[in-house]
């Protein structure tokens, strides 16, 4: 959204005898193209070729009586009228009534012209890749497949009453392919990966789908050395850890960790486990130039040697907890999680008897207790380091016990930034 009319309106705003004394406005304009494939049908009525245009601005207003309002301004709204109407929602939140000033912002590589062209309607690259997927699916004799391709481009500008005025341009590209409604994989970044990498990831997916095509007798119920695929690590283990180090959760005692756990010398996870982000990396989905409240992107460590260094903090919860705001995780490809040394994938396969490729029910878990009980409909029996047929079952355990276990090993999985996790875990086959 072009911010000039918004910035002109703010000084004019009057409501209930109050004016706006401190403010932040973050405008974004974007366009996006996407194509779905459902059961072999590309662009059918349920997953059509889609074009989207969007323009909006998120705002924070601090009124002269100290009350605040937050909201989103839509393209068609008159800014002054919208702000004056928003006064009716104003409330006291002293920790949130602050905005940042000017700072130095790194030039992070987030924009790719060819991706922007796809977002604008050029579908040549998508057509090429779609053709390759179709070839592989036909060669494998798969019954069906579904998936999607998408590209987006956006421009944003963030301005505050303290003199911060900065911009960012970014593109995004992603795809996902699911074979026979079961095994799936995909990619997301600020631009497409090379054709070679695309083909390699797809070939690996087809191999996984082939391995899943053969059932094997259920293994005995009980504790096994289970290898979680990086997708499962991201969707459950990593996201559970991030939710529990979120400043809001910590401040409201809705986390497994207390304020005093951060900065303490006492490790809360195993002594060699860390979690950090580097949002300055070129073309990563998790990279950015500034956060939604205007903090410059920078490398940041949240867990080091098992110790909780700092929560993930915005301005409000930084003040609430007496700490500085931090850069925020935006995607797992810009995060570094686990131990400095990882076991080679081939070695890990020799030490496991079950590899869990996907789980159902992640969103139903209680993230604070860390107790997990997840359905694992896509799992592979592993014998002598090789896939030996499909298993279905459930895995159960506790995330915090796992992340403190001396028997936990992080595993380097080909094509993945996030590691796999190998550890003793209850697996009940069906």
């Amino acid at each position: 959204m072009k911010l000039e009319p918004v910035l002109e309106a703010i000084p004019q705003v009057r409501a209930e005898g109050q004016t706006v004394v401190t403010w932040q406005v973050h405008g974004t304009e974007s366009r996006r193209l996407s194509l779905g494939i459902k059961d072999r049908e590309a662009g059918n009525a349920h997953a059509p070729l889609s074009l989207a245009e969007a323009s909006s601005a998120r705002y924070l207003l601090v009124w002269s009586d100290g009350k605040i309002c937050r909201g989103t301004l839509e393209r068609h709204q008159d800014p002054r009228a919208a702000f004056e109407e928003a006064r009716a929602t104003a409330y006291d939140d002293p920790d949130a009534a602050h905005v940042l000033g000017p700072d130095a912002f790194a030039d992070v590589l987030l924009w790719d012209d060819s991706t922007a062209a796809i977002a604008g309607g050029d579908t040549a690259l998508i057509a090429d890749r779609l053709a390759h997927v179709r070839e592989l699916i036909a060669a494998a004799g798969a019954k069906t497949w579904s998936g999607s391709f998408s590209a987006g481009a956006s421009d944003s500008r963030l301005v505050t009453s303290n003199g911060l005025d900065t911009t960012s341009r970014g593109t995004s590209f992603g795809w996902f392919v699911n074979v026979d409604g079961e095994a799936g994989d995909g990619f997301g970044a600020r631009r497409p990966e090379s054709d070679e990498d695309f083909r390699a990831r797809l070939a690996q997916l087809m191999e996984t789908a082939a391995n899943l095509a053969t059932d094997t007798p259920p293994i005995e119920a009980g504790t096994h050395r289970v290898l979680l695929h990086p997708r499962v690590v991201e969707s459950y283990m990593l996201s559970t850890l991030m939710q529990n180090i979120d400043g809001s959760a910590v401040a409201h005692q809705e986390s497994a960790f207390n304020r005093d756990d951060f900065g303490s010398d006492a490790p809360k996870l195993r002594h060699d486990i860390g979690l950090s982000i580097d949002p300055l990396q070129p073309y990563k989905a998790g990279s950015y130039r500034f956060t939604g409240y205007g903090l410059p992107a920078a490398p940041c460590t949240f867990v080091e040697n098992g110790r909780l260094v700092q929560p993930i903090l915005d301005i409000k919860y930084g003040r609430r907890l007496g700490l500085k705001p931090t850069p925020v995780p935006f995607g797992p490809d810009a995060a570094s999680f686990g131990t400095p040394d990882r076991m080679a994938y081939e070695d890990a396969l020799k030490q496991t008897d079950v590899m869990v490729l996907s789980v159902l029910g992640v969103h139903t878990q209680d993230r604070i207790s860390g107790d997990f009980s997840l359905s694992a409909p896509l799992a592979l029996a592993i014998r002598q380091g090789h896939a030996a047929g499909r298993l279905r079952g459930t895995i159960s355990g506790n995330a915090w016990e796992t992340l403190n276990s001396p028997e936990l090993t992080f595993v380097d999985v080909p094509h993945e930034v996030t590691p796999g996790m190998l550890f003793p875990c209850r697996f009940d086959a069906r």
Binding site: N44, A45, H46, E53, Y91, G121, S369
Partner: protein, 496 residues
């Protein structure tokens, strides 16, 4: 409040005419959703927000069947005209993508208007007043159950749609949704555990309605009490057991296990279909069990028309244990071998509608009595219910799964999963509490296992369903309680 949609009469006619002139079929979806939300934590208002989502989506089908959708977040007539031309050009020019030709059922033009509330009541929601009321409710809950950390919230939303088609269809409907919610986080020696409670109403004044507030407080108090004891509760053993599930979990079973697999857009891979056609007549459950989906007045997931401008029909997915009807839209009904039921729903104007559930339930034709309100039944009362009806003679121990926290399904394999808030072992001697665990397995095994049903139908278990990346409200229920026989393909996850 709904004026931007009211003003579209002429533009709707013009867009329909332009589509006909261009030789394309058009579905033009316009949406205006206004929401207000307040959250109170530990006595303080932590957030008030009022927001609007508005815009339109232009979906066209070219003469050779190619489909494309374009969207924009305003109602500017010139921009809408341009978007129509752009989406026609995009659909026409996308030859290399090999887009699938759409084959839609013939539709009758339809006009209709269903706006069951006064939109001004949603406009009048006063967030500072709501925040003060939530502070009172939080204090009340904290007084009844000291200890846990509480978060109390309220959200009101009026989701209005106006859908035009090139055949003259013009349907205008607004869906009111208000939810009071509470989350309690309890601490114990073994860590922390959170438990939530919600209550839905179409009435934005619900925080000030004595009856609604009393019911909310009963549910919130029960959840807060559970949060105080769950952190130190033991883990339950894994395995297959005789089970009793409450109506919210039964909704989860109906929704995850059968509802999704009955959505006709998935029949090319669904376990309930063969060669793309629904397996009508196949026995999937006991003869006394049916599964029904339909919009229910005053419900969280109520929607009178589909996002394609078709009236939503009652759908008996399973009648007397046999498959009968699929959830379909104009694009999937014919191909799936089922009648058109108007099940297309979309999260926003930017989304392509998918066949989706609204309010889904499991019904038994022979329910046993369970007098009083559902909230009257704690685990001890459920135990007495089972004892009275002789279940313990068949199974000395029954595992009671209480409360639904969400689920998921793989429709290709028929694997479903859902999670509960707490587990209780019930036997002749008493009740033992355990931490929650996942309930998962084969949909056929689960439905075949249903034996007794207790109490009247209760259909207010609410949630959101995330199919194909689109979140839409869902709801449903069953009789107060269902007893499931143990089945080898259905089990409880556990750590022992």
């Amino acid at each position: 409040m709904l004026e931007p949609l009211e003003r579209l009469d002429d533009l709707g006619s013009e867009m329909a005419r332009a589509a006909r002139d261009a030789g394309v079929r058009l579905i033009w979806r316009n949406q205006l959703r206004t929401s207000k939300r307040s959250v109170v934590r530990q006595g303080k208002i932590e957030g008030n927000a009022a927001s609007t989502l508005s815009g339109h989506g232009v979906q066209v089908v070219t003469a050779d069947g190619r489909v494309a959708l374009a969207s924009r977040d305003d109602f500017e007539p010139d921009e809408a005209r341009k978007l129509l031309q752009r989406v026609i050009a995009t659909a026409t020019g996308a030859e290399r993508l090999g887009l699938q030709a759409a084959d839609a059922a013939a539709l009758e033009p339809l006009t209709g208007r269903e706006i069951p509330v006064d939109p001004a009541a949603f406009d009048a929601v006063d967030l500072p007043r709501i925040g003060a009321r939530l502070q009172e409710l939080e204090k009340e809950i904290a007084g009844r159950v000291p200890g846990p950390t509480l978060s109390v919230s309220f959200r009101s939303e009026l989701d209005a749609w106006r859908v035009f088609r090139d055949d003259g269809t013009d349907v205008f409907f607004a869906m009111p949704r208000c939810v009071l919610g509470m989350r309690a986080t309890g601490s114990g020696d073994a860590g922390r555990h959170g438990v939530s409670a919600t209550l839905f109403s179409p009435n934005p004044d619900m925080p000030f309605d004595d009856g609604q507030v009393e019911l909310f407080l009963r549910r919130a108090t029960q959840a807060a009490r559970l949060a105080t004891v769950l952190p130190d509760a033991p883990n339950h053993a894994a395995g297959s057991f005789p089970l009793v599930i409450d109506y919210a979990l039964a909704k989860g079973l109906a929704h995850e296990a059968f509802g999704h697999a009955s959505e006709a857009d998935g029949f090319r891979s669904s376990i309930l279909a063969e060669n793309g056609k629904f397996k009508v007549g196949e026995q999937v459950g006991p003869e006394n069990i049916s599964i029904v989906d339909e919009p229910v007045d005053g419900d969280h997931a109520w929607q009178p028309f589909s996002a394609n401008g078709v009236r939503r029909e009652r759908t008996e997915i399973v009648r007397g244990g046999r498959l009968l009807d699929g959830l379909s839209d104009p694009w999937s009904a014919q191909a799936g071998g089922v009648r058109l039921t108007g099940a297309g729903r979309a999260e926003t104007f930017r989304s392509a509608p998918q066949p989706r559930m609204t309010n889904i339930r499991i019904e038994s034709s022979e329910p046993l009595a369970a007098p009083g309100a559902f909230e009257d039944y704690g685990p001890e009362e459920v135990r007495e219910l089972l004892a009275t009806s002789g279940v313990f003679k068949r199974h000395p121990k029954v595992v009671y799964l209480s409360g639904y926290t969400g689920g998921q399904v793989n429709t290709a394999g028929g694997d479903f999963v859902f999670h509960c808030k707490a587990i209780y072992d019930l036997d002749e001697k008493g009740v033992s509490l355990y931490k929650p665990a996942i309930f998962s397995g084969s949909m056929f095994g689960a439905l075949q296992s249903v034996r007794e049903a207790y109490g009247p139908l209760l259909l207010d278990a609410i949630g959101y369903c995330g199919k194909w990346g689109q979140q839409v409200p869902s709801s449903g229920g069953s009789h107060y309680f269902l007893v499931l026989e143990p089945h080898e393909s259905v089990g409880l996850g556990g750590r022992e």
